[in-house]
C-alpha cells in the first residue's frame, strides 16, 4: 500500500511538472513533437530510477558531508550512459533532443528525489517513487508536446490528423507556445484539484 502511494504520488499529487513545477527547462524546450516528449520522459525515468536505486543502496555508506558530490557523480554517470546509447542506437532522436539529454544531470527532479527521498528510504520505496516521478514527468511532457504538435503542425506522432484546410499555429512550437500551453495545463490541474478537495471536505 505504501509502495503504491509512493508511486501514485509522482503521477498526480506531486507531479514534477504540473504540481511542483520543477525540471521544466527541458519540459518547455523539447516538447515540440509528441515523440520527443515520450523519449525525453523515458530517458529521465531511466536515469532517475537507476540513480535512486544506487542512492538508496549507498545511503548508509555515503558520509553526509559529501553526499551531494556523490549523488551528482551517480546521476552524471547514468546520464552519460543514456547519452551514449541513444547516440549509437537512436541517432535521429538524439539529434532532436540534443543538449537536453546531457542536461538531465542538472535536472532538479533527479537530485531532488535523491536528496529528499531515496537517501532516506529503503530500496523498494525508492524505486516506486522514482518510477512514479519519472512516469509523472513523462505523461506531463507528452501531453504538453501532443497539444503543441497538434496546434503547431497539425500532426500527432508525425501522423497528419488535421484536415487540409488547417492553418498551423506556428507559435505553438516556438518557445512562447510552450509557456502558454504549460500555463493553461497547470491552471486546469489546479482547478481539478480544488474541485476534488472541496468534494472530500463536504463528505
Amino acid at each position: 500500500m505504501q509502495l503504491f502511494k509512493d508511486f501514485i504520488n509522482g503521477l498526480w499529487n506531486e507531479n514534477p511538472i504540473f504540481r511542483m513545477v520543477i525540471g521544466i527547462c527541458s519540459a518547455l524546450a523539447v516538447t515540440t513533437a509528441a515523440s520527443n516528449g515520450i523519449a525525453m520522459g523515458l530517458a529521465l525515468t531511466f536515469v532517475l530510477t537507476c540513480s535512486s536505486i544506487l542512492v538508496s543502496l549507498l545511503r548508509s555508506v555515503i558520509p553526509a558531508k559529501v553526499r551531494i558530490p556523490c549523488y551528482i557523480i551517480v546521476v552524471a554517470t547514468f546520464t552519460t550512459v543514456v547519452d551514449l546509447f541513444m547516440k549509437a542506437y537512436f541517432p535521429a532522436l538524439y539529434e532532436v533532443l540534443g543538449i537536453f539529454i546531457p542536461l538531465i544531470v542538472v535536472n532538479c527532479i533527479v537530485l531532488a528525489r535523491a536528496e529528499a527521498f531515496a537517501s532516506k528510504v529503503g530500496l523498494a520505496r525508492a524505486i516506486a517513487d522514482a518510477l512514479g516521478m519519472g512516469l509523472g514527468y513523462t505523461w506531463a511532457i507528452t501531453l504538453i508536446s501532443m497539444i503543441r504538435e497538434l496546434m503547431g503542425a497539425g500532426t500527432l506522432f508525425g501522423y497528419r490528423v488535421m484536415g487540409e484546410g488547417f492553418t498551423p499555429w506556428v507559435s505553438a512550437i516556438l518557445p512562447p507556445g510552450a509557456f502558454i500551453v504549460m500555463g493553461i495545463l497547470v491552471g486546469l490541474i489546479n482547478v481539478i484539484n480544488r474541485k476534488t478537495a472541496k468534494r472530500t471536505q463536504c463528505h
Partner: protein
C-alpha cells in the same frame, strides 16, 4: 575511522566505479556511433551527387572533398561541406558540384536550428532544388537569383552565401572544365 579519510575513500570509490562504467559504455557504443556518423555523411554525399553509388574522401588545402563514383568507378562529381550562420545558429550544408560543367548538382541541409515553419523550410525540396544547375558564375544573392523563403530572408541568405563562399575556394582547387 577518521571522518575525512572516509569521505575521501567513499568519493574515490564512487568516482572509480563511475569511470569504469563510462569506459565500458564508451567501448560498447563507440563503433556504432562512428559507423552512424559515417553512414550519414555518405548518404548526404550520394544524395547531392546524382548517379553516385560510392564515395572517396580526399583532403586538399584544408578542405575535405568527397568524390562521388558510380558502380564502374566513373567520377560523377564532387561534394563538400559548408556552413553559414543562420537565424538561430549554424546551418551545415552538403554541396554537390560538377567541376567539368562548373555547375551545382544539388544541396542537402545537414543540420540547422532555424525557426520551425519559417527558416526551417530551407529543408524543403522546393528551396533546395533551385540550386541544382546553378553556375559558379552566378551571384547567389537571395531575392535576386536565389528565391528566398518568405519570412526567412536571413536563413535563405545564409545558405546562399555559404555556398558561394566555399564554392569560390573549391573552384580555385578544381578550375572549371579541368580534371579532378
Amino acid at each position: 575511522m577518521n571522518q575525512y579519510a572516509r569521505m575521501i575513500i567513499v568519493l574515490m570509490i564512487i568516482s572509480m566505479a563511475s569511470g569504469a562504467v563510462l569506459a565500458l559504455s564508451y567501448e560498447v557504443t563507440n563503433p556504432t556511433i562512428q559507423e552512424q556518423a559515417r553512414q550519414k555523411l555518405e548518404q548526404s554525399v550520394l544524395i547531392v551527387i546524382p548517379g553516385a553509388t560510392q564515395m572517396e574522401e580526399i583532403q586538399k588545402d584544408d578542405i575535405t572533398i568527397y568524390i562521388g563514383l558510380d558502380d564502374e568507378g566513373n567520377k560523377k562529381g564532387i561534394a563538400f561541406k559548408t556552413a553559414g550562420s543562420g537565424f538561430n545558429g549554424p546551418i551545415e550544408i552538403m554541396v554537390g558540384y560538377d567541376p567539368k560543367e562548373g555547375k551545382l548538382l544539388g544541396i542537402e541541409i545537414l543540420s540547422m536550428s532555424e525557426t520551425p515553419g519559417l527558416g526551417a523550410r530551407i529543408q524543403e525540396e522546393a528551396f533546395k532544388d533551385q540550386f541544382k544547375g546553378k553556375s559558379v558564375e552566378d551571384e547567389f544573392v537571395a531575392k535576386q537569383d536565389v528565391e528566398a523563403i518568405s519570412g526567412a530572408t536571413i536563413s535563405s541568405t545564409a545558405v546562399a552565401s555559404a555556398i558561394k563562399t566555399s564554392l569560390e575556394k573549391v573552384v580555385e582547387i578544381f578550375p572549371v572544365g579541368g580534371d579532378y
